[in-house]
């Protein structure tokens, strides 16, 4: 990499970090400002057309996230999420193992369909947290369980934004990630929950929680046909998502935004009465920072392309010896997540993916997203633990400390998968 290119990269990186950390600007605005600074420094003036074109890079993903968040808010307001959680406790409460597995997946669910850990923490996390504490888990452990499941939910399929960002940067479609992402997220999430919570659950309190859930379900306004009807939006969304993949010859693909919109409309007709407009506004308000980051990332990638830095990064990355490359991925990628996981995926994930072009890219991108997501625990931002701590009224650092061991294990797992990407790809038939 030539000296001017290196200087431009350092300037862009420094500008972004300074705006986020020192000026406390949102990540989206910092990315947009860093893009403008890069263009100005490279002598391209203010390339408005290119900047606007960059904003379109992740428009489809943004629409998916926006509509998914509206759907989440609707099924939260109509009582489906509460009903689902109580049913699982009543059904699986006899087995600690099955219950913890089910609750982990329930916490992950909003993150899986929106690609946002905030949706998990504030959606199902808020419902499951009191249940976990009633089972005897201390507040910090409860926070750690919710944080870790939310982080894994963020990168679980069908929507993994970091993979989409890196894929957009290397012109790779978001296709074929379902199986490997499921394995890389659901299994570690369950193991982390078991490691954190297994010993701390009080069996007597668990029995009490199960009895209370059964009593709540018996006294619930939803019984018989109404209860089945309550699950209709969720069932419709699953059918509309799975149908086109299972029967592509005759099942039309409505795509995810329309799928979630249909689910949201069904949600207003089943369960408790929902004010669709206020639910939609609440969802958009919550997810707007994430959508803004996607717009900012698109602008930055466009500017990197315009100034020729993207090509320079590729050439420079290919020249790094593989030992240093894996070490730097394992250390730098999670550390950058301390500022923004999505920002890290854009700024570092793209060059790292390009440097590993000889390996199966589906596996590489999945592993990079796993490693990068662990940056959610890293201060100064430590986004997921901070949101969880706010929810529980607890300090965030003890939650971070509880999550640190499993996070390091996940980074090691991700690095091993990167090293053996091609054999892993053969194993999964990717």
């Amino acid at each position: 990499m030539s000296t001017p290119d290196t200087l431009l990269l350092l300037l862009t990186g420094a500008c972004f970090v300074a705006l986020v950390v020192a000026a406390r600007l949102p990540v989206s605005l910092s990315l947009a400002a860093a893009s403008v600074v890069l263009a100005l420094a490279a002598g391209k003036g203010f390339p408005l057309a290119h900047l606007v074109e960059g904003m379109f890079s992740y428009l489809d993903v943004s629409l998916v996230i926006l509509t998914a968040m509206v759907f989440m808010k609707v099924i939260e307001a109509n009582g489906l999420l509460t009903e689902l959680t109580q049913s699982l406790i009543a059904l699986l409460g006899r087995s600690r193992l099955l219950l913890l597995v089910a609750l982990t997946i329930v916490i992950m669910f909003p993150g899986m369909i929106t690609g946002s850990c905030t949706a998990s923490v504030l959606g199902t996390g808020a419902i499951v947290a009191p249940v976990l504490m009633r089972m005897g888990l201390p507040r910090v452990t409860t926070g750690a369980v919710i944080s870790s499941a939310a982080v894994y939910g963020m990168i679980a399929p069908p929507v993994n934004v970091p993979v989409m960002i890196i894929g957009g940067g290397i012109d790779m479609p978001y296709v074929g990630f379902g199986l490997i992402l499921t394995v890389l997220t659901v299994v570690p999430a369950i193991l982390t929950t078991l490691w954190l919570a297994w010993r701390e659950i009080d069996r007597d309190k668990l029995r009490e929680v199960m009895a209370a859930s059964r009593a709540d379900l018996r006294g619930s306004a939803f019984c018989g046909g109404r209860r089945l009807l309550l699950y209709l939006p969720l069932a419709a969304v699953i059918v509309l998502m799975m149908g086109p993949k299972s029967f592509p010859q005759w099942f039309p693909d409505p795509r995810l935004p329309l799928t979630f919109l249909i689910g949201s409309l069904l949600g207003t007709c089943t369960g408790r009465r929902v004010q669709l407009l206020s639910a939609a506004r609440g969802g958009v308000s919550e997810i707007l920072p994430v959508v803004g980051i996607l717009v900012g990332v698109g602008m930055l990638i466009e500017m990197l392309t315009l100034t020729g830095l993207r090509g320079a990064i590729v050439v420079g990355s290919l020249a790094i010896p593989s030992v240093f490359l894996f070490a730097s991925i394992a250390v730098i990628l999670p550390l950058f997540g301390g500022i923004s996981v999505y920002g890290g995926a854009s700024v570092l994930g793209v060059p790292f993916a390009l440097a590993l072009l000889g390996r199966n890219q589906v596996i590489v991108l999945s592993a990079l997203s796993l490693i990068g997501a662990m940056g959610s625990y890293i201060p100064p931002v430590a986004f997921t633990p901070v949101v969880t701590a706010g929810l529980l009224g607890e300090q965030y650092l003890p939650i971070v400390r509880r999550c640190l061991g499993p996070a390091v294990a996940a980074v090691i797992l991700g690095t091993i998968i990167l090293i053996y990407a091609n054999p892993v790809a053969r194993l999964f038939g990717v």
Binding site: L29, R281, V295
Partner: protein
């Protein structure tokens, strides 16, 4: 047909983001909403 539905979804998103833009007090959030609005409006109008 699907194009009309798609534009309708984008238009709904525009309305919701505009509502957010005017209901928020924080200038940073307003600018963020404005940033998000640009591609949404252009796509709803099929300009780009």
């Amino acid at each position: 047909m699907i194009t009309v539905v798609y534009r309708g979804i984008v238009a709904v998103a525009v309305i919701l983001v505009v509502a957010e833009l005017f209901s928020q007090r924080s200038l940073k959030v307003k600018i963020n909403a404005g940033l998000v609005l640009i591609p949404l409006i252009l796509r709803a109008l099929m300009v780009a």
